[in-house]
């Protein structure tokens, strides 16, 4: 399966040049770009690990691309995404977020059903990869 979180997951994987243009767009809006990675892509896992801090005061996408390549060297077997933060009043949250790196094999999610009273079912989604310990999930 292919996890389709983020803004561009339905398109073919973005090339570095395409990623760089999106980063440049974010910087031109005055947003700070953050690199995050995880091996637990559960849809409600909001807090992926941060690769350093969001890059404030950056003007050129090249800086982000350099960091992204460093991150890929270490965590190239995991999910990596870029998130852009807008600090302006009334928003103060993420403006754009998209996946820029994926594991070769994406095993997907198990849906568990617990039958409750009546016809009610309690659902739990869990990543097959998360069955293994952190750090060894996509070996």
């Amino acid at each position: 399966m292919r996890i389709t979180q983020g803004c561009f997951s339905f398109l073919p994987d973005l090339t570095d040049e395409q990623i760089s243009r999106q980063v440049q767009y974010c910087l031109e809006q005055g947003w700070a770009v953050n690199i995050e990675f995880t091996d637990d892509p559960h849809p409600r896992n909001n807090f992926w690990e941060m690769w350093g801090l969001p890059m404030f005061d950056l003007r050129d996408a090249a800086g982000v691309m350099m960091e992204l390549n460093e991150c890929r060297k270490v965590y190239g077997d995991r999910y990596i995404r870029l998130s852009a933060f807008d600090s302006s009043h009334g928003w103060e949250s993420v403006r754009l977020s998209f996946i820029v790196n994926r594991p070769k094999d994406e095993p997907g999610f198990r849906l568990e059903r617990h039958e409750m009273a009546g016809r009610n079912i309690r659902y739990t989604t869990s990543s097959y990869a998360a069955d293994r310990p952190e750090g060894r999930r996509y070996d």
Binding site: T4, Q5, F10, R44, N46, R119
Partner: protein, 509 residues
């Protein structure tokens, strides 16, 4: 000429008397002292409801009416009557006024202008003191402003065009239960419009069949599916059946995609007790969103908004029934007023028009509605039908929904007209896809992502739109097929409701 060089006359909230209107905007005719309270009938304009020298206070609520007096009725008298009948007046003088601070409570019409290019119609500006209204109650606000006057005999027609809501009043309302920012955080979706579809056919599917449509659409790539306005609990599908099968579909699609998904479960019912029961069940099943119809009434909407805030639920409003009073230009209530009321009342989503789809809405007027939903401050923009500066004082933002006769081939136009914070709902444009519902959903999602990518890259996506879509379709057969099937579908009809003011170039200084 770039749009920011276009100028229009802005109407200040205080009195302005251009020479050509000076015979209309006369001075006060108010009878004062003892004579004011002599038993009998006095013209409204002499009773203190026409005060052209009045300077509205920052805390006043101001209403703008389009007044069409009966033949032979003085427009100032007609406008004063509207002020009177929507505040303290009755048809005759009453001595009991003298027991009150009557002058404060009288609504004051302070300005009457002829409507451009519409003989017989007048814009009446009326100011209401804040003390006339109960805090935090749309029912009370609307009972005052539109409660009595619309059937008044001396008027042929009356329309409430816009309102200025003072911050002091705005702050008495909860506002949208969730708001655009928190909705995006909860749904984990940033940087693009959200995608939805209304399940079709709207009537007749069993719960099991209905859930099938939801599953296919969500798995194919939509973020939301939606009950239609008249899906409640009918013989072919009891509401609990619908909720159970829909949540199976939502959870299966979430697991299949790794994304958060939702389906607007319509909890509209005959009584508040039934609505609460349905909302509680939706919560118990883990739904992220519920839905109500505008026809349940303002108080019921406010109750559901409070429930939604307490229960971490997004609240979708379907504006069912609004066209009965919003569509005609001369009579009723403009949708921009309804949008303002709904932002106060506290819903998170509101249908606000598509511009290019099958339902009424010219681009400029629709832009005005979207601004009212999404901005923290609306400057007066007569060319969008927005007559007043409006501060929202950090009240949550309301997500507009575009629904009705739109398809993937219009993606560039939709993004251009409606922007990024909007839900695009492709019902027929998903379910009617020749390769099936999943393919229909995928076509829409690919078209959207390709357009956002192109926009962010700085391309002239509006003009290059068809090219961008064709390119994306090269690697996506469902999109290719959607573009082929719906390529010629447009809905070009004359709008019945448009702004009265058009931009004119400013005079060079």
């Amino acid at each position: 000429m770039p749009p920011n060089e276009l100028m229009t006359t802005t109407i200040p909230t205080s009195r302005r008397t251009p020479p050509e209107e000076s015979n209309m905007n006369m001075h006060s005719m108010t009878v004062r002292g003892k004579d004011r309270y002599k038993s009998g009938v006095l013209e409204y304009k002499k009773m203190g409801y026409w005060e052209p020298d009045y300077q509205p206070k920052d805390t006043d609520i101001i209403a703008l009416f389009r007044v069409t007096p009966q033949d032979g009725v003085d427009p100032v008298e007609a406008s004063a009557a509207v002020a009177g009948e929507s505040s303290t007046a009755t048809w005759t003088v009453v001595w009991t006024d003298r027991l009150t601070a009557a002058e404060k409570y009288r609504a004051k019409c302070f300005r009457v202008d002829p409507v451009p290019n519409s003989p017989g119609q007048y814009f009446a500006y009326i100011a209401y003191d804040l003390d006339l209204f109960e805090p935090g109650s749309i029912a009370n606000l609307s009972a005052s402003i539109i409660g009595n006057v619309f059937g008044f005999k001396p008027l042929k027609a009356l329309r409430l065009e816009d309102m200025r809501l003072p911050v002091a009043y705005v702050k008495t309302f909860q506002g949208p239960a969730t708001g655009i920012v928190v909705e995006r955080e909860r749904m984990d979706k940033f940087g693009r419009p959200l995608l939805g579809a209304t399940v079709k056919p709207k009537l007749g599917l069993s719960g099991r069949n209905y859930g099938r449509v939801v599953y296919e659409a969500l798995k194919g790539g939509l973020d939301f599916t939606k009950d239609d306005e008249n899906i409640n609990s009918q013989p072919f599908m009891h509401w609990r059946e619908r909720f159970l099968y829909c949540m199976e579909a939502v959870n299966k699609a979430q697991a299949a995609s790794g994304e958060i998904k939702g389906t607007y479960l319509n909890v509209t019912a005959g009584t508040m007790e039934d609505m609460y029961e349905r909302a509680e069940f939706a919560k118990e099943l883990g739904s992220v969103i519920i839905m109500i119809d505008l026809v349940i009434g303002y108080t019921a909407i406010q109750s559901m908004a409070k429930w939604a805030r307490r229960n971490d639920m997004i609240l979708h409003l379907h504006r069912a029934g609004h066209s009965t009073y919003t569509r005609q230009r001369s009579h009723g209530v403009s949708f921009r007023v309804i949008a303002k009321w709904m932002r106060l009342a506290g819903v998170d989503h509101i249908h606000a028009g598509t511009v290019v789809g099958k339902l009424e809405g010219d681009p400029a007027t629709t832009r005005g509605y979207y601004d009212i939903c999404r901005e923290d401050y609306n400057p007066a923009r007569l060319e969008h039908g927005v007559f007043f500066d409006q501060h929202w004082a950090s009240l949550n933002k309301l997500m507009p929904v575009a629904s009705g006769g739109i398809h993937a081939g219009q993606m560039h136009q939709l993004l251009d007209h409606l922007g990024e914070d909007v839900i695009l709902q492709f019902g027929g444009g998903t379910i009617g896809h020749p390769m099936g519902i999943q393919a229909g959903a995928t076509a829409n999602r690919v078209a959207l992502e390709a357009m956002i990518l192109a926009r962010n890259e700085g391309r002239d996506y509006l003009h290059e739109g068809p090219e961008i879509l064709a390119k994306a379709a090269e690697t996506c057969t469902p999109l290719k097929s959607a573009l082929e099937v719906w390529k010629d579908v447009t809905f070009n009809y004359e709008s019945t409701d448009m702004p009265d003011y058009v931009p004119t170039p400013s005079v060079a200084m």
